[in-house]
């Protein structure tokens, strides 16, 4: 048995857990089906504890999805796309307008990082900052 450092993913289709809150969704994505599986390392003293985790998978390619997409298309205000004005032009115009409007306020906040939990949790005995391993082997990704 080896503990290899390598990607576990793969470009799977299908779906994944999708509970209510977006914060919770991210957590569930990370901890319920990823990470080392204890059973692979320990057998004798494993405690089977009851887990009440939600398994609400979203099926990306489904009838529901298709009906939703269709309704989204139906809802679009296509009045301006009428025969006189081609749709591609309209789309281009709409996107430029949308971009212009949003860029000012959102440029800085385009990416938000969640790092507030990082500080002050663990520290090394031997002090100092993180050292780099000199023999730095990495898995190809």
């Amino acid at each position: 048995m080896t503990t290899a450092v390598q990607p576990t993913g793969g470009s799977g289709g299908g779906g994944l857990e999708r509970p209510g809150g977006s914060g919770l969704a991210e957590v569930v994505d990370s901890i319920l089906d990823k990470g080392l599986v204890i059973d692979a390392y320990v057998r004798v003293s494993l405690v089977g504890i009851e887990l009440l985790t939600v398994d609400a998978r979203v099926v990306v390619a489904s009838v529901d999805t298709y009906l939703r997409f269709a309704e989204a298309a139906n809802r679009l205000d296509l009045a301006e796309t009428g025969q006189s004005k081609g749709l591609p032009e309209f789309v281009e115009g709409a996107q430029e307008k949308g971009a212009e409007k949003k860029v000012k306020g959102a440029a800085r906040g385009a990416i938000d990082t969640a790092r507030e939990t990082v500080e002050g949790f663990v520290e090394r005995h031997n002090g100092g900052s993180r050292r780099k391993s000199s023999t730095h082997a990495r898995a190809e990704g």
């Binding site: 901890i31 320990v42 494993l46 939600v54 298709y66 997409f69 789309v91 500080e119 949790f121």
Partner: protein, 250 residues
């Protein structure tokens, strides 16, 4: 003899790490997070009542918080949620000691690195506009269902939705490639996560040298700006390398 409590295992770290006081783990009430050491490796653990189920929102967040906080400072191998051993002795003799070499090796590989997750979602109306503009067949179907009741146009709607869904999948795939290409210069590894929503534009986990994290943020910020109005993007991290540890039998 039955045990009333067990030891919940969050992950594996090097043994020269110390947990600062005041950190609480899973369970209700939560117990403090501690370390069980064995040679060069140690397990991040806390006591849990084995008769109470785990999996509340607080439990899930506690597991994540312990690991991500650790990952911000030192290399950590995250365990999957729900790992419980019967005693401290079991943690040492069954988990840490027999697997010390592979844990040490994996921790060495992760030295100086942390995971980030990039997650982007399309703006729905921008997405539909974009797809329809590129797909005259779909546009024709939209005209057919316009202002018609769902009941009489269900088949057409499904046909339209499937066209749109397929087109969105192709866009997601292309945009995911754009993300991977953008970050390749600064990441050690990437792992594509499955979409969690039908309008996901990209969902990519990345293993990054901490020293490159600023550069990574800059690159992805540029990308997010170029998608402004089209998709909203988020970068989460640094976090534990959930997507880059695997257990393989061998």
């Amino acid at each position: 003899m039955s045990t009333e409590h067990g030891w919940y295992v969050y992950g594996i770290v090097e043994s020269d790490v110390e947990v600062l006081p005041g950190n609480e783990g899973v369970g209700d009430p939560p117990a403090p997070v501690e370390l069980i050491r064995s040679g060069e490796v140690a397990a991040l653990v806390s006591r849990v009542d084995v008769d109470k189920p785990l999996g509340s929102r607080a439990d899930l967040f506690a597991h994540r918080d312990v690991l991500d906080a650790a990952a911000g400072a030192v290399p950590v191998l995250p365990m999957r949620f729900g790992a419980v051993l019967s005693s401290r002795t079991a943690v040492v003799h069954e988990l840490l000691e027999p697997h010390a070499d592979e844990f040490t090796d994996a921790l060495n590989q992760l030295e100086g690195e942390a995971q980030y997750v990039f997650h982007a979602r399309y703006d729905e109306s921008a997405l539909v506009h974009e797809v329809l503009s590129e797909n005259p067949d779909a546009m024709a179907l939209v005209e057919q269902i316009r202002d018609e009741p769902i009941e009489s146009t269900r088949d057409t709607r499904l046909q339209l939705g499937e066209l749109l869904g397929t087109a969105v999948e192709a866009k997601r795939s292309a945009d995911t490639d754009v993300v991977i290409e953008a970050v390749t210069p600064v990441v050690a590894a990437v792992s594509v996560r499955p979409p969690t929503h039908e309008e996901d534009a990209a969902h990519v986990a990345m293993l990054v040298d901490i020293d490159n994290s600023g550069e990574l943020e800059d690159l992805l910020d540029s990308l997010a700006r170029s998608w402004e109005g089209r998709a909203n993007a988020r970068l989460l991290g640094p976090m534990a390398p959930y997507d880059f540890v695997t257990t393989t039998q061998g």
